[in-house]
C-alpha cells in the first residue's frame, strides 16, 4: 500500500535493509518472541482516503447539537465566550503546534517567550506573584494545589466548600484518596467549626458553581486564623471586573482557562491556570519559564526550577506532571493580548449585563424564581422551575436551545433548579427567544399537555 505519511519507497527500504545488514525486515524483529508476533490487526477497519474520511467525520459531527446550531446557555465551568479569529489563526501555526516541550531553549525561544508572557498575564489577572506554565485543567490543578498545601503545611486535611464545581470536588477526592489525605466537604453555613489546626487548606470557588459572589475575605480570615492556606478557584473572565484574589490574601489561585480563547470541545483539552504567592515557588507543581541571559549577555527564556521535577527528582518530585497545556496557554496569551485591558473588561461587562437581563426576564415568568434571590452574581444564575428541569432541557433542545444544567443531580433540594449561563455571545434577541420558548414549555407543563 502507499501512505502519504510514510516517505520511504520500496527501493529505499531495500537499500536501508542492506545498510543494516538485514536480509529482510523480519530480521529486525528477532528480539520479539515469535509467539507474540503478529502480522496484522484483524479488528481494525481498513484505511480510508482523506475525502471519504472527512465525509465520515462530518457526518459524525452532524449528529451533535452545538453552539453554532443551538443557542448555548450552558456553563458550569465551560463557556461559549467570544474567541477572536486571530487567536486560532496564530495559535494553530505549525511552528507552535508541532514543536515539542522546549527542552532546547536555543531553538524554542518563541514558545518560551509566549509562556513567560502567559505567566505574566495570569499574574496580572489574579494579582498573584507567580504563575506556572499551566496544568491539565482546573480540576486537576485544584487537586495538585491541595497536595501542595498538605506538603507545605505538614497537615493532612483539606476543607472544601460544597459550592465548588461538583466535578472538581470529585477529582480532588480521587487525588486525596490516592494520597491518603483527608477530604472534608462543608456547606457555607457549616464551615465555621470545621477549619482547625489539622486543616492544610480551605478551597473556595468564587463566583460559586451557582454563579454567586461570596465574601472571600471572610473565608480567607477563617483559613488563616487556623494557619491553613486559602485556595481559590476563579473564573478568569470575572477577574476583569472582580477584585483579584491577592487582595483577599489568597495563597493559591487556580482556574479554568478555556474561556480565554479555546473552544469548548466537549470539555477538552482544557487549560488549568495555577498561580500562588512567591514564598511557595519551590513547592510549586508544573513547568515554569524564567528569563535569563545567554553567553553574549542577550536576554533569553528557559524552563527553570527544574530540580523540582520528576525527570530529575523521580519519586521525590513535587508532582508527577511533566507537561503543560502549552498550546492552550498560548491561545490564552493571544486572547488576553487581543482583547487586552479594555476588551476583557467589555467582555465581562457584557456577560454581566446580559446575565442580569436574562435573569430578570426568565424570573418574570409565572412560577419561576431566582434560586439565590438577593445574592450578587456574575454571569450565571440558578432558577427554580414549576416543571422538571430535565423536561425543560429536552424540550428546549428541540427548539435548538441548550437551556442549562439541571442541578438536582448535584445538590439536595435542587431537583427543580436549572443553572443558566449568559456570555457576551448571546444577544438580547437570543435571550428573548429563550424566555418566550420557556414560557411556552411552562404553559404546556402546567396545563398538562
Amino acid at each position: 500500500m502507499t501512505l502519504g505519511y510514510i516517505s520511504n519507497t520500496d527501493t529505499d527500504r531495500q537499500e536501508m535493509l542492506q545498510a543494516i545488514g538485514a536480509g529482510r525486515f523480519e530480521d529486525l524483529l528477532e528480539p520479539i518472541p515469535s509467539s507474540i508476533r503478529m502480522t496484522h490487526l484483524p479488528e481494525l477497519p481498513p484505511a480510508m482516503a482523506e475525502n471519504d474520511l472527512y465525509r465520515h467525520l462530518s457526518s459524525l459531527a452532524a449528529l451533535n447539537a452545538h453552539a453554532e446550531t443551538h443557542l448555548c446557555f450552558l456553563g458550569a465551568g465551560i463557556y461559549d465566550h467570544f474567541r477572536p479569529a486571530v487567536v486560532a489563526s496564530l495559535a494553530s501555526r505549525g511552528e507552535f503546534a508541532t514543536a515539542y516541550t522546549p527542552y532546547q531553549p536555543e531553538m524554542s525561544q518563541g514558545m518560551l517567550q509566549a509562556v513567560y508572557e502567559y505567566q505574566t498575564l495570569i499574574c496580572a489577572l489574579t494579582g498573584m506573584d507567580i504563575s506556572n506554565a499551566s496544568m491539565y485543567d482546573a480540576a486537576t490543578g485544584l487537586a495538585e494545589s491541595a497536595l501542595m498545601s498538605a506538603h507545605i503545611q505538614h497537615r493532612d486535611e483539606i476543607v472544601v466548600l460544597n459550592n465548588l464545581h461538583p466535578h472538581y470536588r470529585q477529582v480532588i477526592q480521587t487525588y486525596l484518596e490516592a494520597t491518603g489525605l483527608k477530604y472534608r466537604e462543608v456547606s457555607e453555613s457549616d464551615v465555621d467549626g470545621v477549619v482547625n489546626s489539622n486543616t492544610a487548606s480551605v478551597i473556595v470557588q468564587n463566583p460559586t458553581f451557582m454563579g454567586t459572589l461570596l465574601d472571600m475575605q471572610k473565608y480567607s480570615d477563617l483559613a488563616h486564623a487556623c494557619g491553613a492556606l486559602f485556595i481559590v478557584s476563579v473564573d478568569p473572565v470575572s477577574l476583569a471586573l472582580l477584585k483579584p484574589p491577592s487582595e483577599y490574601d489568597a495563597d493559591i489561585v487556580v482556574g479554568e482557562g478555556q474561556s480565554l480563547g479555546s473552544p469548548m470541545g466537549f470539555g477538552g483539552p482544557l487549560l488549568g491556570f495555577f498561580a500562588c504567592k512567591k514564598q511557595f515557588v519551590r513547592s510549586f507543581p508544573g513547568r515554569i519559564v524564567g528569563a535569563t541571559l545567554d553567553l553574549e549577555g542577550r536576554r533569553g527564556y528557559t524552563m527553570t526550577l527544574r530540580t523540582r521535577e520528576q525527570d530529575i527528582r523521580r519519586e521525590k518530585a513535587t508532582s508527577n506532571i511533566c507537561t503543560n497545556q502549552a498550546l492552550l496557554a498560548l491561545a490564552a496569551t493571544i486572547h488576553l493580548c487581543a482583547l487586552g485591558k479594555n476588551g476583557m473588561r467589555q467582555t465581562a461587562l457584557l456577560s454581566l449585563q446580559k446575565a442580569h437581563y436574562a435573569c430578570s426576564q426568565i424570573c418574570s415568568l409565572p412560577g419561576v424564581t431566582h434560586a439565590d434571590e438577593g445574592r450578587l452574581f456574575f454571569k450565571e444564575f440558578a432558577v427554580r422551575l414549576p416543571v422538571s428541569p430535565e423536561t425543560v432541557i429536552a424540550k428546549m433542545a428541540r427548539k435548538k436551545i441548550l437551556a442549562g444544567l439541571a442541578l438536582g443531580k448535584y445538590y439536595d433540594g435542587y431537583s427543580d433548579a436549572l443553572l443558566i449561563a449568559v456570555t457576551e455571545n448571546r444577544t438580547k434577541e437570543d435571550i428573548d427567544r429563550y424566555t418566550t420558548e420557556l414560557a411556552g414549555i411552562l404553559k404546556e407543563g402546567t396545563t398538562g399537555v
Partner: protein, 499 residues
Amino acid sequence: MNSEPLIFEKSRAGRIGANLPQCDVPEQDIVELLGGDNLRSMLPLPEVSELDVVRHFTHLSHRNYSIDEGLYPLGSCTMKYNPRINEKTASLPGFAALHPLQPVETAQGALQLVYELQGMLASICGMDATTIQPSAGAHGELLAMMMIRAYHRDRGDTARTTVVIPDSAHGTNPASAATCGFRVKSIPSNQKGCTDLNALRNALGPDTAALMLTNPNTVGLFESDILEICSLVHEAGGLVYCDGANMNAMLGITRPGDMGFDVMHFNLHKTFSTPHGGGGPGCGAVSVKKCLEPYLPIPVVTRSDEGTYLLDENRPCSIGRIHSFYGAFLIAVRAYTYIRTLGASGVRAVGENALLNANYVRARLSKAYDIAYNSPVCMHEVVLSAARQKQANGIRALDISKRLMDYGVHPPTNYFPLIVPEALMIEPTETESKQTLDEFIDIMLKIAKEAAEEPELLRTAPHSTLVSRLDETMAVKNLDLRYEALFAGSPHSTVESSS
C-alpha cells in the same frame, strides 16, 4: 531579527485588538450588580492592536523550531509528522463547539467517536477496555496506579505497598507511583540494557503491587524476556504496567496485552500523531484487561443494546473522576482520524518503518559513536553514547546536541536514560525519509570529526541560533518569572491609564 520585545512593551493606552459588540440590553449600575467592595481598581493587561498581536506572535513563531520545519529526532518523544486532516476534522464545529454538559442525546456523534476510538486502541494493544480521560502520559500512569491500588484493596490484599521500577524508566514512573503512596523499589538493568531477571525475582514479594515497565525500554531495546517477566510478577501477586511511550515500535507487530501486561497508557500525542503543541495538550489514554475494567474513571463511555451511547457514572468500583469532564476530546478526534486514515495495514506500516529508520541510523552511526548496550538490532530508537568523545576531548552529549543546532537540526534527547553515560537518544520515526536521515547522519558524522579535530567549535556551540547557551544557574538564582514593569507602573502607561 535579533530579539522580539515583550508584548507588554508594545502596549499603548487606548488600543484594542478586537471588535466587540455594544451592549444591547438595558444596562444596570455595575456597583449595584457586583458590589463596590468586590470591584477591582486596575487591570494591568496590555493594550495593543490586532496587527500588533499578529506581528508579535508571528515573530515568536519564527523563533521556534518544529516538525514542520525539519527533523526532530527526540528519543522517547515520537516526533512524527502531524497530519493536517486531523486538524481539519478536530475543528469541525460539530466537535469543537460542543458543550460537555449538553444532553447525551444531542452528542451521540461525539460519544460514538470516543467509543470507537476506545475499541480501536484496545485492539491495537490487545486489552479489553480503554479510557481516553488522562490528559498526558503521566496522568495515565497516575490513573493506573490508582486502579492497581483499588484492585488490591478490593481483594483484601492491603500489604501490597511496593511498585518495582527498572532504573532505566522515565522519571514520571516513580513520581506517579509515589504520588499514589507506593514505595518505589528500583531495580538495575542487566548488561544487555534490559530487565535483570534475578534482580526482579529478588525485588518481588508479598508487598509487590506492580511492576512498571517500558517496552521497548528506554534504551530502545525490546525486553525479550517479557513473557517470563510478566509471569514472575503475576506469580508474586502483582500486576504489570506498560509505559506505552514507545508504542510506535510495536504497532501492528506485537501487543502488550499478548505479552502479559495488565494495563498500559498510550500517548496519543506521540504514537497517534496529535501535535505536541510545544508541551501539550496531550492525551494519555489507558487500556486495561478485564480485571481492572471496574476501576476505570467515571464517566465511562458505553453503548446500550439499542445502539445509543451513554456516559455511565454508575460504576461502584471506579476510582472516581480524574478530569473536569471526559478528557481531551479534540485530541481524541485527531487520533481517531489518524487511525482511520491508516487502517489495519497502515498501522503495521508505521511500526515497520519506525523500526527500519532507527536501525538504519544506528547502522550508519555505529562506527563514529558508541552504541549503548550493543545489541544486534534496536527497535524504534537508538541510544548513542558520547563516552568516547568525552574521554578523547572532553566533548559531552550536550556539546554535540548544541552543535547540531548550527546545522539546523533539533538535537536528540540527551542524558536520558540515566543508565547510559552521555546519552544521545535518537528516534527518527516512520515519517522521515531515507534522504532526510542521510542528511542527518552525514551531519552527525561531520560532528564526530569536528569533536576530534576542532572540539572548541562544539564546546561553544550553538553559533547560529538566535540566542547562545543560556545561563541556567542565573535563571534559578535570580528568578525572573514575569515582566515586573507591568506591575511596578511601567513607562508604557498600561497600568496608570484609567478605564
